[in-house]
């Protein structure tokens, strides 16, 4: 039965490579090895979202029982999103869990993830801190998400004020990503972020 998984991935791989979305540089899939059980995905941040202009890399693992069970997907690119862990990149998306259907493909998974970037579900969060910020302080959330896109996903440069706050924490001896994560989760309040890092 393992052969079904491999044969299907081969076909899907061709499908994704041929699809219009690849032509438009929206989604991309690459092989990691010859056994077709691990792939790298790439999706473009949807326009008119804080993720616009970024390219997000994904780790896709194909279980032996594919397509009867969903692929295991997580973000490799760090991202600030209520349904994606800012620490591990784990994704909370129903079709990757109990709503998976055997007729779904790598293409539909990548397009669904792109749709998730455009429409977050803060009431079913993966990252509680981000989800809370999304609901309670949406402008800060958008700014943070855009900043993370610029730094980690190659999005357009933005917000020198945020960079300067990170720099001041760096001069205190904290590692850059650690400083960014602390500031992001504390609403870019330098004092609270410092306190959080010290504790």
């Amino acid at each position: 039965m393992t052969n079904i998984a491999e044969a299907r991935i081969r076909r899907e791989f061709k499908e994704v490579v041929k699809s219009d979305e690849v032509a438009a540089c929206n989604i991309k899939v690459e092989l990691v090895n010859d056994t077709f059980n691990e792939l790298r995905g790439e999706i473009a941040g949807p326009p008119d979202t804080p993720y616009a202009g970024g390219q997000f890399h994904l780790e896709i693992k194909i279980p032996e029982t594919y397509p009867f069970n969903p692929p295991i997907v997580k973000f490799l690119t760090k991202i600030w999103h209520p349904n994606i862990s800012s620490v591990t990149g784990a994704i909370c998306l129903d079709i990757l869990k109990d709503q998976w259907a055997a007729a779904m493909t790598l293409r539909t998974v990548l397009l669904s993830l792109q749709a998730l970037l455009a429409a977050a579900e803060p009431d079913d969060p993966q990252d509680a801190v981000v989800a809370q910020q999304y609901k309670e302080n949406h402008s800060i959330f958008e700014k943070t998400a855009r900043h993370w896109t610029a730094v980690y996903a190659g999005g357009p440069k933005s917000y020198p004020d945020l960079d300067s706050k990170i720099l001041s924490l760096k001069t205190m001896g904290f590692e850059e990503h650690q400083a960014r994560a602390a500031l992001s989760s504390k609403g870019w309040d330098l004092e609270r972020a410092t306190e959080y890092l010290i504790n």
Partner: protein, 190 residues
């Protein structure tokens, strides 16, 4: 505007290039694609179609239904689906059409073998064997002793047939035989 114009011919030429290896072959590929199983993406064999109109190989759909026995939904549109809610398809090429749902051997139902008696209740199993074992030791030498005594004894020969002693001995031997049978029977059911 200018980028749009330039990208369209490029796409068209790419499409033409991909269909280059024989237009008839490509046409057949496309025809076959209409009959692809929605699960394995290969041309459906032992094909069945759901009430919602989606085509599958029966083995593929069967495995999907087995994967989620509690939630039997169409893999394409998530309509209700099940073994009795799909229709087998018989093409003309098949000389002896058979319902694919009956062709696939139903998977053997789950069995729960008893755990092996290694350490769980060792005394119970061993005691049982020990009893039979000790019986064997007790009876076997006894048998040897009696037979050897028989050999060495100068016993009187059998009495004349028809004599009262003969009938008495016959009667006794029969009683002993029945006692032995009863004893063996008791051993079996004990």
């Amino acid at each position: 505007m200018s980028t749009d114009n330039s990208s369209k011919p490029a796409e068209a030429s790419a499409g033409a290039a991909s269909s280059n290896p024989g237009p008839s072959e490509n046409g057949e590929d496309e025809k076959a694609a209409v009959y692809e199983c929605n699960i394995c993406l290969d041309t459906a064999h032992d094909a069945v179609v759901s009430m919602c109109g989606h085509l599958f190989c029966w083995p593929c759909l069967h495995q999907w239904l087995e994967t989620r026995p509690q939630r039997q939904l169409c893999p394409v549109c998530k309509a209700g689906i099940g073994k009795d809610k799909v229709i087998p398809i018989y093409g003309r090429g098949n000389p002896n059409p058979q319902d694919p749902r009956e062709k696939l051997p139903p998977r053997p139902s789950g069995q729960r073998p008893e755990p092996e008696n290694t350490g769980g209740f060792p005394a119970f199993g061993f005691g049982d064997g020990g009893f039979q074992f000790s019986f064997g030791i007790g009876a076997f030498p006894f048998g040897i002793f009696t037979s050897s005594f028989n050999m060495s004894d100068n016993r009187p020969g059998p009495p004349q047939a028809g004599s009262p002693q003969h009938t008495e001995e016959q009667f006794l031997s029969r009683i002993f035989l029945w006692v032995a049978i009863l004893f063996l029977f008791w051993l079996l059911i004990a």
